[in-house]
Symmetry: C2
Subunit: 458 residues, 2 copies
């Protein structure tokens, strides 16, 4: 019988490991390593060439020299993967503080076809690709460092969301995606052929996260959400990643807003501390996400009034009639919060009952409004949250008023029937947050493999 040597170290180095040693002064000029990576860009300087090599998180500069480097550089193409026998040469002008002088190099991938349909190694050209070319060639464009930085930020937001909630005592759970019927009537739901029967793909883990409050009290889930919406805007995709939480024993829906405010502070901190190079690719050199200190809160009707007063004439009047905030109004509120409170965030509370789902708790002081809110980040809706109805009679009554058939909601109402604490929750769309934080114009560019009405590949 053979046994695994589970702690065996490789003799082939990641550049990340070398950078760490270099920064800790553990290696000196002239140190030699076998290094792995993908050929990112090759620039012939006549007599020598700059060979940019891509690792999992970096691009580092190697130098091929005629007469010194043993390999024939014309044998290699970009995107091929290699082992490099390299020498560390201190170089102040290099981002990492050193270059790698190539003694020899061997290919460990197959040969790469050339030319590439898109120039992975040319940031400017990749940035300027039209949407369809960018997405049709996604297998390759995700290799570009700036696109990859977006993917790394996505990783960071998911990590920070979970890390924060875990420390707050939350339990992660799995919500099923197949459901019998649409909780909200089946509009905008995808239909599935389920062993000859009809099933739907769930639009939201709402019902399940509320169930979990009865068990673990504080629950969250991160999982795909499917919406058969026909919109095709720069803020819509048909499959997105939902970050959803629900929390029992709240004392008011302000508890949810406070939790979310602290969560965003945590997300921004993690990104600033652990994803600085990736952020800089979008925000500019040295740029950081703000340390948010003030979280202004405004009632929906107040916000409406303020907007109308600032927009005399038709626009203002028209806005007052709508029971929701338009993107323009959100943008204006965002600018207001920025200008007067230096905050990228503003909470808008007490949305009209007609615009909120049947499970939203109405404000006892004025049941035309609800104990719910939206959080605007940089003038765009980033999340929606609120307190839910926990009392059985109250929930049944609200459903009946809306003409819903309560017999369709037997499982849902079981929860209320057998005791539920005051509770509430909130939901975010991962791609919208990434889009918002990085200032990406189209949400389809804020995810690896977007799905819209016309796109099912790659």
């Amino acid at each position: 019988m053979e046994f695994l040597d589970i702690y065996k170290k490789s003799e082939i180095y990641d550049i990340e490991r070398i950078v760490e040693m270099f920064n800790n002064n553990e290696i000196t000029d002239g140190a030699e390593f076998k290094i792995k990576g993908a050929l990112h860009r090759i620039k012939d300087m006549g007599g020598f060439s700059f060979v940019n090599v891509r690792s999992s998180k970096l691009v580092f500069q190697c130098v091929w020299e005629e007469g010194y480097s043993k390999c024939d550089l014309s044998d290699f193409s970009v995107e091929e993967c290699v082992y490099i026998d390299g020498v560390i040469v201190t170089e102040e002008r290099s981002r990492l503080g050193f270059d790698v002088r190539i003694k020899d190099m061997v290919r460990i991938s197959g040969r790469a076809a050339a030319p590439l349909p898109v120039e992975v190694g040319n940031d400017k050209k990749i940035d300027r690709l039209n949407l369809h070319t960018m997405l049709d060639n996604r297998v390759l464009t995700i290799r570009n460092p700036k696109v990859r930085a977006m993917l790394r930020i996505t990783d960071g937001v998911m990590f920070a969301f979970r890390d924060f909630l875990r420390k707050e005592g939350f339990t992660e759970f799995v919500a099923p995606k197949f459901v019998e019927a649409g909780a909200e009537g089946g509009a905008d739901m995808f239909k599935v052929d389920y062993f000859g029967k009809k099933a739907y793909l769930n639009q939201s883990p709402q019902m399940y996260k509320q169930f979990m409050v009865g068990s673990v009290v504080k629950a969250y889930t991160v999982s795909p959400v499917f919406r058969a919406e026909k919109y095709s805007t720069n803020r819509h995709i048909n499959e997105f990643q939902g970050l959803d939480l629900e929390m029992g024993f709240i004392e008011s829906f302000y508890d949810l807003m406070s939790l979310e405010a602290r969560m965003f502070k945590h997300i921004f901190n993690i990104l600033n501390e652990e994803y600085a190079p990736e952020l800089e690719m979008f925000l500019g050199e040295g740029a950081k996400l703000p340390n948010i200190e003030q979280f202004p809160v405004i009632r929906f009707d107040e916000a409406k009034k303020m907007y109308a007063e600032a927009h005399s004439g038709g626009i203002g009047k028209q806005a007052l009639k709508e029971p929701d905030l338009s993107p323009d109004e959100e943008k204006w509120l965002g600018e207001y919060a920025k200008k007067y409170y230096d905050s990228p965030v503003i909470f808008v509370t007490h949305y009209p009952s007609v615009k909120r789902p049947f499970y939203t708790m109405d404000d006892p002081e004025n049941p035309k409004y609800t104990l719910s809110y939206d959080m605007l980040l940089n003038g765009m809706e980033a999340s929606t949250g609120g307190q839910r109805i926990h009392d059985y009679e109250t929930q049944v009554e609200k459903m009946q008023k809306r003409g819903m058939d309560i017999s369709d909601f037997e499982d849902y109402l079981t929860m209320h029937k057998y005791g539920m604490p005051p509770h509430g929750g909130l939901g975010l769309g991962l791609e919208r947050i990434v889009q918002n934080i990085l200032g990406i114009p189209n949400i389809k560019l804020a995810t690896a493999f977007p799905r819209d009405r016309d796109r099912l590949r790659p």
Copy 2:
């Protein structure tokens, strides 16, 4: 403008916070608190009653006393949520070291209907429920502490999986669920009506995690996997949570096994350290998951031979003919590893090529076998992994030999065409791991809301 006070502390206590203070000697006998929880079980002792109260992670004992407690206990039913004005009374026989003497109690939920369709507070009765009753009443049975312990372990496995990989330099990504066509022919895939066109729910993130190797080199994803398999065994569900990873620049597929071995050590450690009370509910008081020290590795053909030798006659001969391991053979191998190497784990390597997918790398020394493996945990398949083909010509040739139409795989082959490092990966099913670790007989009881051919609710 109002501003959120984001660090405001509540005056209503979680029992978890009180336990911490009690253990740190920060509170003394007689300390008073307002405590929140759900009424779990009430036991009338004549003149006084034991009132067990459930919090997010614990059940704690309160005592109601006639003439002392102000509230009328007959006004309350189990599963109602309450605030308790309570006094801490040191009590050595109590699990927590103290009881809570009830001065007064108010209900903060609605009234709970009685009797309950299933007795949430009675562990023995809940444990003995038949499968359908258990699952039909899932909204309530997840409130039972032992069922909840399983949900907490699920949280722990997901956390430990991600925590390990993050520290190993992996990046989490999101794989889309909607796909144009089945990568492996569309068998066992669910069909979706996608805006009038046909789409499928992806069976596996395989293709996408390989794409991600070209970008971040080490990638993982945790997300639902849909399989339209008609089996109805105690090891099958039609929607499960896949824990999938893929890794570039491997030197051999032994790198994957080592990674996985260290990952399982990490998962077991985290569960032992942070989920001990939950583990004990399944494994017995004081029980821990083993500290695995040896990871035996055996070739598939060797394992077959050993089994056949140990089972003279028909069974052994029949086993030799099958190009796969049966559950019986897996069980026998598990017992073998346990007996001779005191290990709950055994890796079986070099599965026959005919039984592995088209992207699996054949063993150059004998292409009838592959550079792939299964990990058996406690005599059951826990994961499948292996090295993938990274060379374009080799991949095309293998697909053509299998009669596959390579024009259906344009996106997939783009990856190989433009340079891929040697790479491989592995996949686990979350529910199977939880089932295996906790010794749960049916996988449908190892998840919150299972889906099978006949079950789409709750």
